[in-house]
Symmetry: C2
Subunit: 288 residues, 2 copies
């Protein structure tokens, strides 16, 4: 396993981690100031400052993009299906323009949450079929753009409203059906927050192998967790054995960035940007 204790060469900052403290250009300046080599921006943050300005900042600071957040939200009724398709193709285009390592897919839950305005449905099996169909269709487009797609299995507590792909095994089943040759065009974004609880996690990581491990995200699970979405913890403040998971991922040959992604309304989003980044760096060294 790589030694992270001496530097933060393999730290990436998911820019949602400090989204309340500044715009993407200010976040980029701060990351550069702290010697951070990689970021992973969100589409709304890019849109707010413009794709060209983002591209210029990425080039100026020499950033790598460990990923681009995010495509997905595939379940939709007929009235919203074209919107979902177009939106995802634009996400691929933006990711390609920024030379991201992959486009992260949060696949969506039931259609009324995934694409608001869609008719209400409680049919999870149908939502899952629509997800797989949507990824299959997008994959052709993404291949032509040379942009790998990373399915992010989300914690089961988000099954209804954010993603009906809820385990690594389920994500890998989709990968195997749509990309049986393991070409590198389709894989997973493994976020410890979503998968740490899974008794099949380590078997899943071995099954994934290097070809499917496109991104590795870290944060921590707090006890108690006070909000289902916005109470993620800083690495080391919760119960996840992060380094044991990183060890398993690296045993498969993964040698990419460790991307910090923390949504924390009551804590980290209220602190100064520099304090958050300083803490991310320290915890990257001690707790990842």
């Amino acid at each position: 396993m790589r030694d992270f204790s001496r530097d933060h060469a393999w730290l990436s900052i998911n820019t949602a981690t400090i989204r309340k403290q500044g715009d993407l250009l200010q976040i980029s300046e701060a990351c550069a100031r702290h010697g951070i080599r990689a970021i992973s921006p969100w589409r709304d943050q890019v849109a707010a400052v413009g794709l060209q300005a983002t591209k210029a900042a990425v080039r100026r600071h020499g950033f790598k993009l460990s990923g681009y957040c995010r495509g997905g939200m595939f379940p939709a009724d007929a009235s919203r299906r074209q919107e979902a398709r177009d939106d995802n193709r634009r996400a691929v285009d933006e990711a390609a323009a920024l030379e991201a390592a992959c486009l992260v897919l949060v696949v969506g839950g039931l259609p009324q949450y995934s694409r608001p305005g869609s008719a209400v449905s409680l049919d999870m099996a149908l939502a899952r079929t629509q997800v797989e169909d949507g990824i299959g269709e997008l994959l052709d487009y993404a291949k032509s753009a040379g942009m790998p797609l990373a399915i992010e299995p989300l914690h089961p507590m988000y099954a209804a409203d954010r993603a009906c792909v809820n385990t690594l095994g389920q994500a890998l089943d989709i990968c195997d059906r749509l990309d049986p040759a393991r070409t590198g065009a389709l894989g997973v974004a493994l976020d410890v927050y979503h998968v740490w609880w899974d008794p099949e996690l380590h078997a899943g990581i071995r099954r994934a192998g290097l070809a499917r491990l496109l991104a590795f995200h870290v944060c921590d699970w707090l006890v108690p967790t006070r909000d289902l979405l916005l109470d993620r913890g800083m690495m080391g403040d919760g119960v996840i054995e992060i380094s044991k998971i990183r060890q398993a991922v690296e045993a498969e040959g993964f040698a990419g960035f460790s991307e910090v992604e923390i949504f924390s309304e009551a804590d980290w989003w209220t602190r100064p940007m520099d304090e958050v980044l300083t803490t991310c760096i320290a915890r990257h060294r001690s707790a990842v």
Copy 2:
């Protein structure tokens, strides 16, 4: 599938559903008044009025007990292991005294949460081993008391602090190792709240079969869910396809009670007991 639309003969009330509105004797009176035939009480509620008084109330009203809540919390450090063992044996004794259909096991998470005072550990694999060892040991005692043990897989959001058995498949693996002959002494309590999201749910129900399906619990998953523990919804108010799950359970031959278990601090716990029970009955007919 049984027709629940005409009566509520197969409705059971888990007494936590109205725990804030009265003690167990008052709850029993109310259930009897509404023609409810079965309840499932919690140990602290029994302790508050006394086991003998509970027994007398159960006899007076002719209640069946669809289950008894709850044993478990197995992970513990050495200093708390005897406490865990003794506590679980008392739970079996109480369940037997009340002639419950099964003792429900919420198995516990990490030892510091499962048995407070235990040394801090983040080792989920170890906690899972302790759970299996604990169930194995308790099973011998429960068999001699004629009390079936029902492992309740809990939603993954409770993995750290309440139960590190988080999928039906994982629970069935334990059952198969400890009771390979499927004697009826060990099975699962299937609560739709905990398992509805699982893409392997229906395969798991088929695998469980009648021998392992000891209890069936219902409520609903609300979107948004405002609290990880205390924001369960009334059947029909959320996104779970409850009747589809009941259909699968009954296809295996399950013909027991449908037990309503709702923890709802901001809503159902604030309403009058009779209103909650009237609603449970109506939704049992229309949404289960």
